[in-house]
């Protein structure tokens, strides 16, 4: 009961203090807000980029075209090698022979123009091929390189460059946002630390008297820790609202896709709720760390 009363009193005091030093509190809240908005953006980006990456990873396919005069034994030989890469080295996820006839049938289905052209030709101009799926993006280049070494392989391609470029761009974006967010979190913690420091100085008389009349150290410190917490929570309100409504809006307006079909946005629910919770936790944590440091440093009791 006593603990509860001290708790309630601390919370009341910290709210009073937030509004008493309103301009100072606003600076901390604003900084928290900006930081958390960026954290939100970083979260959306990195999460959706991870989605992109997994989408791309579904496309870990190398198409190996075999030369026209490839013998049957050679087709068997390359497939045996692929089997080894699959079962022994775990580089290859799967592989499948796709004959020129199969290609032809597929292309004919694609369009009427192609169908008539292919029918017009007496011989099948297409090549036999093997569709190889690797287990990891990193294996694409070395595997393709290996397959090209076969004499009877005409080409082995996987849309080189494109995937790597996309991944590289997203890596850079993620890294950049993480760096900015870390810097901003530090600035925010410092600002809150400073606000609490000034509150402590402003209330030094009160602290002295509390100490004299026998308030416990916890009872003296608690209001300041709560103040940091409250600043953090107040600072996370706007970012939460923005991320919920902003993301839902973006999702609706874009139809769930950005730029190309490979970048698919995650469905808003429950994703935005996780993000909101995360922002709240980060905000209050930064607030508490900031005030804890100030209390440790400036509240000498």
């Amino acid at each position: 009961m006593k603990a509860l009363r001290i708790l309630i009193r601390s919370i009341r005091d910290s709210f009073k203090s937030v509004f008493r030093n309103f301009s100072l509190s606003m600076a901390s809240i604003a900084c928290t807000t900006v930081t958390l908005i960026l954290v939100g953006i970083a979260l959306f980006l990195s999460y959706n980029v991870r989605e992109v990456t997994t989408n791309l990873e579904k496309e870990l396919t190398i198409v190996v075209y075999l030369k026209k005069d490839t013998k049957e034994e050679e087709k068997v030989a390359i497939q045996n090698d692929l089997e080894l890469m699959k079962s022994a080295d775990h580089i290859v996820e799967s592989y499948k022979l796709k004959t020129s006839e199969e290609w032809k049938a597929e292309m004919k289905k694609e369009s009427d123009a192609l169908e008539s052209t292919l029918d017009y030709l007496e011989t099948n101009p297409l090549l036999d091929s093997i569709i190889v799926k690797v287990t990891d993006v990193k294996e694409l280049a070395p595997t393709a390189e290996k397959l090209r070494k076969y004499e009877y392989v005409s080409s082995a391609s996987y849309g080189e460059g494109m995937i790597e470029n996309i991944l590289g761009i997203f890596d850079a974006i993620s890294f950049g946002t993480v760096a900015i967010v870390v810097a901003l979190v530090l600035v925010t913690a410092f600002l809150i630390n400073n606000t609490i420091k000034l509150t402590i100085f402003a209330r030094s008389e009160e602290i002295e008297i509390m100490r004299l009349v026998g308030a416990s150290n916890t009872a003296i410190k608690l209001p300041f820790l709560f103040e940091g917490f409250i600043l953090g929570v107040l600072g996370s309100i706007l970012p939460i609202v923005i991320s919920i409504y902003g993301y839902i809006l973006l999702f609706d307006k874009s139809g769930g896709y950005v730029f190309t079909k490979i970048i698919t946005l995650t469905k808003p629910f429950p994703f935005v709720l996780y993000v909101s919770g995360f922002l709240l936790v980060i905000g209050s944590l930064v607030g508490m760390v900031g005030s804890y440091r100030a209390v440790r440093k400036y509240l000498k009791i």
Partner: protein, 237 residues
């Protein structure tokens, strides 16, 4: 039962000043004790050790069964709840009225509000400020402000009331009033009172126990003593 037992206590400040040297004294429950001596002799230092504002460098200071020398910082509040302190500057919170200033002490230690109200009213009445309970400190005279500080010090019924020059900022008449209030508290509530002061006349009039400190050493300890004892002691030396 001894309420206070100072046993060969020393206080050497960080800058090397020896403020108290080998001082031993015992004080019983219910006593009224003056601590006198010239400026800088160590009165405040002795008093600060009693409420653990300073720790003795050597020796023991035991107050209400708590050994101040061994009391951890986080446990100081346990000692403080057994005593009240009053200073020359009244240390009132300017934005709180009389009632709130006194109640602040009890709120700070987490008392429920239904227990706070009767205690605060009783304390304010004991110092004769019932009519001014809603006044801010700035609306009170110096003597009245000191009475608020006394009410705050006794509101939780402490066994011990420690006063460091409580009349130092007050004129003669007002000092007398304050002394009467302290005397009443000592008589009616049985509160032990220790008071450091410079006011000769006041000490002479009260005829209480007087500890004389000279350069950190207990020079004399007289029952029903007076400042004059101190002066004659000085002359005979």
């Amino acid at each position: 039962m001894k309420l206070i037992k100072v046993d060969h206590a020393y206080k050497v400040y960080k800058n090397g000043t020896t403020a108290i040297a080998d001082l031993s004294v015992s004080i019983d429950k219910g006593e009224f004790v003056f601590v006198i001596g010239s400026t800088g002799c160590g009165k405040s230092t002795l008093i600060k050790m009693l409420y653990r504002e300073e720790k003795p460098t050597k020796g023991d200071v035991i107050v209400g069964g708590i050994n101040v020398a061994k009391l951890r910082n986080s446990k100081v509040y346990k000692l403080r709840r057994k005593l009240g302190v009053v200073f020359q500057d009244f240390k009132l919170l300017p934005k709180l009225n009389v009632y709130e200033n006194v109640a602040f002490a009890l709120e700070s230690i987490g008392l429920p509000s239904d227990e706070i109200r009767p205690k605060v009213l009783k304390a304010i009445e004991a110092v004769g400020l019932k009519e001014k309970a809603r006044n801010l400190p700035s609306e009170l005279s110096g003597g009245e402000q000191q009475r608020v500080a006394i009410a705050r010090a006794i509101v939780n019924d402490p066994k011990l009331l420690i006063c460091d020059e409580p009349t130092g900022n007050l004129d003669h008449e007002t000092s007398k009033e304050i002394m009467n209030i302290l005397n009443d508290i000592n008589k009616n509530l049985g509160t032990t009172i220790i008071m450091a002061t410079h006011d000769k006349e006041l000490v002479n009039r009260m005829k209480k126990r007087v500890l004389v400190i000279e350069q950190g050493v207990l020079a004399s300890d007289n029952m029903k003593g007076s400042y004059k004892v101190h002066e004659s002691l000085k002359n005979s030396n």
